[in-house]
């Protein structure tokens, strides 16, 4: 079937370059986006953040140097969060990089770092905790603001085309996601867990912004499938399950894979007895209807703020001699999961840090079974991982050359406290109280066993605050793993974990690195605090 956009592209090719910024939808692929483009948050739909580029590789990485840096200027401390911090992964389309911080979009020349245009927005509420980037469709960009505005911009000049309200900041919703484009759908997720609201994921029309479908993170009414995991309608209506990170997509199966956030009230679970579907889960949704196809719950009846939004990474590998379509996740609850992405069948469930002592084991679907005695207690309950979670949003990576899954995480011990002991608590209702013997670690996990093959770990210490992993991970066919370590940008050997190269930056790596070829040269892009860096090989 030829959609209107494809017709437009054909016309464009016939007439000549009408639209200099146009993104060819063929660039959006499951595993292999073209070399000269980074068209979506994760590069391709798989979320592997593995690039097939090899110009920069182990033999020459010592020549990697900063080609240019773009420093955000004229934007002071942002409300409640301080200095501007780049958490977005820039898109790179036709030689232009598009990236964001809360309330602001920037377009810079990918060869020089020169600013082409900047879009500034004034929010009226919401959280400025992060902004992960824009999505692109044809000549249009899609941006979400802290207070729930969904805005389309012209990629050429940053001029606003239209805006729609997609989330109510008065209910403590906020929007930080990098919008994701799948066929003729712009996917929009939401954050917000201060006031016990329901998570949802929406698809919007890329031309008009009109709502196409909405999937709620909880069943709609008692009696619906999944409602048996809630005690009553009110608990379900206020059950949380936010959708604040981009998911992944398999075009052949036409399935979207999305991680959902923790259940609400966050730490006080006594008013929501049951597993609380579909919070803290990986869900597979039909991309055209938003209908649930399968669900795997990573943290049933979550009471530790363990958003399960970490990228559900799609990969193909041989399992027991057979090629399988798989999905891997390093979850905030401290476990690694490997699933069959066609049906959600579990192949591996294993803690990557600690012993997973918040769970009594796994059920028949491979889902951890939470130990009620490890729920937050008034005088504290200790688990052998940080109470606030073992990993978070910074993007992980899967390298098909090593068949290892990489993530940056935190290890140690944590205690969770219950404050609101009423039968129907509201808000957070408790908190994580301290993290003990914490270590910041880069994990390399064997996908077939979930065992940690190697780990690069930093001990804690009050005088060693700068030591530790930061940002997301990129792996490349040049046998490189790029991430942040101790305030520097670092290349590791993905097979062994040895450090191959490091470059001091002005701040710790704060986004997921990306890469592309431009004018015959491989670029690596990294965001560190208020500065975006482009690195290339010296002499190239």
């Amino acid at each position: 079937m030829i959609g209107p956009l494809r017709v437009l592209i054909l016309l464009t090719l016939l007439i000549g370059s009408l639209f200099g910024q146009l993104l060819d939808p063929a660039a959006l692929t499951l595993f292999n986006q073209p070399a000269d483009i980074w068209p979506t948050y994760n590069g391709d739909y798989s979320g592997r953040r593995f690039s097939s580029l090899t110009e920069i590789n182990q033999s020459n990485v010592n020549l990697l140097k900063i080609e240019w840096a773009y420093r955000i200027s004229g934007i002071g401390p942002q409300r409640g969060v301080g200095a501007p911090t780049i958490k977005s992964t820039p898109l790179m389309v036709n030689g232009i990089l598009y990236f964001t911080i809360p309330d602001h979009v920037f377009a810079v020349n990918a060869l020089t770092g020169a600013l082409l245009w900047q879009f500034d927005f004034e929010d009226h509420g919401g959280h400025l905790v992060g902004q992960r980037g824009v999505g692109m469709y044809g000549n249009w960009l899609y941006f979400l603001t802290p207070d729930g505005w969904f805005i389309s911009l012209n990629a050429k000049d940053g001029k606003e085309r239209w805006r729609h309200k997609v989330a109510d900041e008065k209910l403590q919703y906020f929007t930080t996601m990098s919008t994701m484009i799948v066929k003729d759908h712009v996917l929009v997720g939401v954050g917000g867990d201060a006031m016990d609201v329901r998570g949802y994921l929406e698809a919007h029309d890329p031309e008009t912004g009109a709502l196409q479908w909405r999937w709620w993170s909880e069943p709609q009414k008692m009696g619906d499938p999944g409602s048996e995991s809630w005690p009553n309608q009110a608990a379900m209506d206020h059950g949380g399950g936010m959708t604040w990170l981009p998911g992944t997509y398999d075009p052949d199966l036409n399935l979207l894979y999305w991680g959902t956030g923790n259940a609400n009230p966050v730490f006080a679970g006594q008013g929501r007895r049951g597993a609380n579907l579909y919070t803290a889960s990986i869900v597979a949704l039909n991309a055209d209807t938003g209908k649930l196809v399968w669900c795997f719950q990573a943290s049933p009846h979550d009471t530790h703020d363990w958003d399960n939004v970490e990228t559900p990474v799609l990969l193909d590998a041989m399992i027991d001699g057979k090629p399988r379509k798989l999905l891997a996740q390093g979850a905030r609850c401290g476990w690694f999961f490997l699933l069959d992405r066609t049906n959600g069948q579990n192949l591996v469930s294993r803690p990557f840090t600690g012993t997973g002592n918040w769970a009594k084991g796994v059920d028949s679907k491979g889902q951890p079974v939470p130990d009620p005695s490890k729920e937050p207690q008034v005088d504290g309950s200790m688990i052998d991982m940080p109470a606030m979670g073992a990993t978070n949003w910074p993007p992980p990576s899967y390298d098909p050359q090593t068949e290892l899954f990489y993530l940056n995480g935190t290890e140690g011990y944590g205690v969770a406290y219950l404050y609101d002991t009423s039968p129907e608590p509201e808000g957070y209702g408790g908190g994580g109280g301290g993290s003990f013997d914490t270590r910041s670690s880069l994990f390399a996990i064997d996908i077939r066993t979930g065992k940690v093959r190697w780990k690069h770990s930093h001990e804690s210490g009050m005088s060693r605050n700068d030591a530790g992993m930061s940002g997301g991970i990129l792996t490349t066919a040049g046998h490189l793993l790029l991430t942040g370590d101790s305030g520097q940008f670092v290349a590791f050997d993905p097979a062994s974990g040895n450090i191959l190269w490091h470059q001091r930056l002005t701040a710790p790596l704060s986004n997921g690195p990306s890469t592309y070829m431009l004018n015959g040269k491989q670029y690596i892009i990294a965001g560190a605090g208020d500065t975006l860096y482009a690195l290339t090989l010296a002499g190239k």
């Binding site: 919401g126 959280h127 006031m195 930061s470 370590d485």
Partner: protein, 280 residues
């Protein structure tokens, strides 16, 4: 467990315990200490709007209880009438523009009578009382205040805690020496619990460095990570080496605490806390 002064203990633990409220659910690195955020900073971060007027809320409380609580519950969390803490009308209200008409005119079709006898001031005071209830649920920066009592909850058995202490702690600590009157030094028992589990100190750590040239330097660590080692030596001079060019031995004062972490049951922790609280 060392025995630093009360001021230092409080500073550390405010950091550890209050610091968690600054952390957003969307932030990694929970281990990093951050400046404590009280109600105001958290309110700003969350974008909760104007702070409820405490004086008005206090005047509004009896009015609410008299006129509203029968249907909406004593703390506005709902009874046979709707929960107002989660009410769209309340959350969208600015200066009674939403709440005012509902109170004055009622919602006859929903069974709510009008309250024409309430003055504009009354409505303002009632609405500030309701917004204070919203604040207490949504603004986690205020939890330290409103749940201060529960932070002293003690369910442990001090006798069992004493036994645990004898077996595991007396190698380094004494209940009549460094820990004498420790129970009087903490404003909340949960702070003491965090402190004995992991007595992370803000005092500088010490390390001994062996250089390639055979020099040995001991000093306090300024920076130690995968790439850099900066030290202040005994003369007060700043020294620096690339990490790869030296051998470093960091003095680990926490080995005893580290080795206990995998062994504790929650009961052990609560028992030891209850025991230490008796040392006053």
């Amino acid at each position: 467990m060392t025995s630093p002064g009360r001021r230092i203990i409080r500073a550390n633990l405010t950091c550890i315990v209050a610091g968690i409220f600054v952390l957003s659910a969307q932030e990694p690195d929970a281990m990093r200490p951050r400046p404590a955020a009280g109600p105001t900073a958290t309110r700003e971060f969350l974008g909760l709007g104007p702070r409820p007027d405490a004086a008005a809320a206090k005047k509004g409380e009896p009015l609410f209880k008299q006129n509203c609580a029968a249907c909406h519950g004593e703390t506005a969390r709902g009874a046979q009438g709707p929960n107002l803490v989660r009410s769209l009308v309340v959350l969208h209200d600015e200066k009674e523009n939403e709440i005012g008409p509902v109170v004055r005119d009622g919602r006859p079709q929903a069974g709510m009578p009008p309250f024409p006898q309430l003055s504009a001031d009354d409505v303002h005071n009632i609405s500030e009382y309701i917004k204070l209830q919203v604040e207490q649920a949504a603004n986690r920066g205020i939890y330290n205040q409103i749940y201060a009592g529960s932070k002293n909850a003690l369910r442990g058995d001090p006798n069992k805690g004493s036994e645990f202490f004898k077996v595991h702690c007396t190698g380094c600590h004494s209940n009549s020496g460094d820990l004498a009157k420790i129970g009087a030094k903490f404003p909340e028992s949960s702070l003491m619990q965090s402190r004995f589990l992991w007595p992370a100190s803000r005092e500088p750590e010490r390390a001994t460095v062996s250089t390639l040239s055979g020099e040995t330097v001991t000093g306090t660590i300024v920076k130690l990570d995968d790439f850099d080692l900066a030290l202040r030596d005994s003369k007060g001079d700043n020294r620096y080496w690339p990490r790869s060019q030296v051998k470093v031995n960091v003095v680990d004062n926490l080995q005893g605490h580290r080795s206990l972490l995998p062994l504790y049951t929650d009961a052990d922790i609560h028992n030891v806390t209850a025991y230490l609280e008796t040392l006053k």
